[in-house]
Symmetry: C2
């Protein structure tokens, strides 16, 4: 059996049965193996960043890794930003990078580069398969590695000859390490901390399951501890009927205000909060001075189980404070960010998956979604923009029966807009709400915040933050990539368009024109 | 003076006065410095790969480096594939990557990653600026480094605080090392080699200037040596009235046939030829068995001067065999690749710059362009696709008085189609001939060549090489990004569209529908 066929067959036997790919010459035998191994679903992306972002979101929703297939060092480079996001989210992800045939490496051919050096910056495990007899076993070690440290990227470099040679055999799956169980001494310490006045419980990573947020709600109800969710949750079960929890703000000054008065900060699956960027004169560490930081569960620990154990100790039969049902329709009129977010919430189907790359609209979106029908939120955990549309692809592949709504800023959409084509090809049930304000609005805000100046709307500097002249026409772009699209400028138009989009199967894009900030 | 202002001012004083950028929060002071230093032209890209590809081509045409400005590790990742191409082309390129403020690094904030590890894979020089007092001098060392080893990428990591702090002063330019002068002993050895029967002179890199190809033509005329140009020339002065030279073929079997009978292979600015990929049973080293390889000038040497020195020794007053004028119009009818290439040649303005990312159409294009009006050809030197449209941006910025024609395959266009927007914003005089065959045609060919199978047109594997269902509509895409576009299906339609596009200023895209190969 050829290496590629043994590899692909072993992957599907281990439960890795989706591969997001953008292959090249060195990966042709892997591609060909799709005919021999029908259990593997190949999903073509027009750009590697689409494949890696999709694989990240797939695993967040499916709870198991997908594979990506990339072409040599440049293909890995193109996928790197969304692998960075996966690394920051603790996502299990199997990254297969095709390499030159072993005998060809010495020629330093044009596409040769240091694949492993790049891969190491985003992967917890990197290995180059050196022999066709080992390749299936190498792949099984890679799959097992994706589950370590709470979930990580494992990169297998696959030389073309290892893929094309005969002599391989399938290898059996290896046990995948789950997260660490809760540590009773940490649960006890956290119990003392949440009972004290001024306690804040910060939830993140694996704490944000339905059971995790329910346990957190019970803890808060029993102890009076405040609840917060990290700014960019990897996968958050939220909405009406679930524990109502505010997000920690993106801007450091606001986050500092939210955390003011905290005497002890208990971390459940979240890291200790820091400012996203450094700013002149603003502290980077957001923990209030003098507050104790108590780690209940780090991101590699089963934070949901830890919260349940903590609730057993402190909460008795307390009931969580749930978010009420009711996301009112916004009033008709010209669209603005607030009306847009309200319209998304008002039309959200039950059990939808919301992908949030709304950037300057994210704070308003978070407020609107609190009382929207219950749903799962996926956010930009690693901060590398261009994740939203790829993530919508991955979420829809992982959960074909659930509608996906991507709330997407314009500037970041343009990094990986090729994802729209994959939505069309795979007939994915995704509604993209494209917020077109014709600017890098977040950078206008950041320019002022970093003290660089106020002239962000004009002049030579302002032009670098402006997306007008020409303003991208996302309706044309989406149509060009095979996704039906329409443009709206009023809240009533948006409500109608969203309802139409959600009533029809397959992808839709609604381009919502809103005024730029400031 | 703030660090950013001293940095930008020093760059322009050193002749680096164009910066292709996709900035983020950590680069806001660099952006703001554009207002203080009007000599620096900022060119906004919607994606980092556009910025890096543009900077590569800018330097190939302008003969001096441009800067790129990227946002942290993920921004560098997005730009990596075209930095790989620049590395392979020996392009001088200054890569400035914004980093977190020095005091912020310890917090391991979401966007933190190992920037230098990634940068080292494409750069000959990497340095992190550690103090505002040094930043301008660091930048001058970086610019000087871009000229070393025949041209390379130099990466300066710029922490946000080094950019925003006061206390900087401008620094004077440092001498930039030029290429090494020709080595007389190598010229003498090459003279013996080219005079022997069965000599082939392979030209590449810096040998392909007007003076270089003229000297090569004289050498060939005097000695009977055969001339060839490397498969993907970085910048080649060619066309009617210049020395007629064939390109070495992309496919190893054809290249081996071309080199058959060569007893000595003289390298002028080119590397010893190797197969682009390894294939089962095909040799990777393309030098015929027993042939002597004689290095006249490696890519870090002034290969044009070496050729002139060689011509002085061997050529006397011999005149080169020039390519004749005359690129006939193709016959009317349904468009195919041959007709498309003939139409490009027939309508090519004098002294145009042709960016060739035509892939499966490249061989036909090379033949057609031999007798087209004299022009400069830029090719995909490093093999990382998605360079063509960005390169057209960079070439047009470098040479505003020269028309640019980008002959662009569909699959690779979709990697970095955002470049169209920059063409529109900067009103660049670029005509894109988009070859839409709705497939990764090159991979269909490669699938068979690697022995993976013949079923590339159907089945689950074939679907991964197919770009139909849905077929991207490049006319809609270009329109959405602000570039006027039209679709043609006949040679006469293409001829008309090209003439109209070239008669009007600003960018145009002509979507040429051709049948897929095979």
């Amino acid at each position: 059996m050829r290496g590629a066929e043994a590899l692909v067959g072993s992957l599907t036997a281990a439960g890795v049965d989706v591969c997001f790919m953008n292959p090249g010459t060195s990966e042709m035998h892997f591609v060909q193996a799709l005919d021999a191994v029908p259990e593997m679903r190949g999903v073509l992306a027009l750009f590697e960043g689409v494949a890696t972002g999709a694989a990240d979101a797939y695993a967040r929703i499916a709870g198991k890794p997908a594979a990506v297939l990339l072409h040599l060092g440049p293909g890995l480079g193109n996928g790197l930003a969304n692998l960075h996001n996966a690394r920051r989210a603790g996502t299990p992800l199997l990254c297969v990078v095709g390499g030159h045939a072993t005998d060809h490496v010495r020629f330093d051919a044009p596409l040769e580069s240091d694949i492993t050096a790049v891969a190491r910056t985003v992967s917890g495990w990197v290995h180059t398969s050196g022999d066709v007899r080992d390749v299936a076993a190498d792949a099984m070690r890679a799959v097992a590695a994706t589950g370590e440290r709470g979930g990580q990227v494992a990169t297998l470099v696959l030389p073309a000859d290892v893929s094309w040679s005969e002599g391989a055999s399938p290898a059996p799956p290896l046990p995948v390490a789950g997260p660490f169980p809760p540590d009773p001494s940490r649960v006890a310490a956290a119990a003392d901390a949440v009972r004290a006045p001024g306690a804040t419980l910060l939830l993140g990573g694996p704490a944000l399951s339905a059971a995790g947020v329910d346990a957190a709600g019970r803890i808060a109800a029993a102890t009076g501890a405040r609840l917060l969710v990290e700014t960019f949750p990897r996968c958050w079960e939220t909405g009406a009927g679930r524990t109502r929890i505010d997000k920690l703000a993106y801007f450091a000054e606001q986050a500092i205000e939210q955390l003011d008065g905290t005497s002890s900060l208990v971390l459940a699956g979240a890291r200790s909060p820091v400012s996203f960027f450094g700013y002149p004169g603003v502290p980077g560490d957001l923990v209030p001075e003098g507050a104790a930081v108590v780690g209940l569960a780090d991101p590699a620990t089963d934070a949901t189980a830890a919260l349940e154990a903590l609730a057993d100790v402190v909460a008795g039969d307390a009931a969580p404070a749930l978010a009420p049902h009711g996301a009112p329709e916004p009033a008709p009129g010209a669209l603005d960010v607030r009306g847009l977010c309200a319209a998304v919430a008002a039309t959200l189907p039950q059990d939808a998956i919301v992908v949030d790359e709304a950037l300057t609209a994210a704070a308003s979106l978070a407020v609107s979604l609190q009382t929207a029908p219950r749903h799962t939120q996926i956010a930009l955990t690693g901060g590398a923009i261009g994740m939203g549309l790829p993530a919508a692809v991955g979420a829809a592949v992982a959960a074909p029966d659930r509608p996906v709504v991507a709330v997407q800023a314009d500037g970041s959409a343009l990094y990986t807009a090729q994802a729209l084509w994959t939505m069309a090809r795979e007939r994915l049930d995704v509604t993209v709400v494209l917020i077109n304000n014709a600017a890098y609005s977040i950078l206008r805000v950041e320019l002022a915040r970093t003290g660089a100046g106020e002239a962000a709307h004009s002049g030579r500097a302002g032009r670098m933050l402006d997306l007008s002249d020409p303003t991208p026409d996302f309706t044309a772009l989406a149509t060009g990539l095979g996704v039906p699209a329409e443009r709206v400028t009023t809240t009533e138009g948006l409500l109608d368009a969203l309802r139409r989009a959600q009533a029809e199967p397959g992808p839709h894009l609604v381009e919502a024109i809103v005024p730029a900030l400031g």
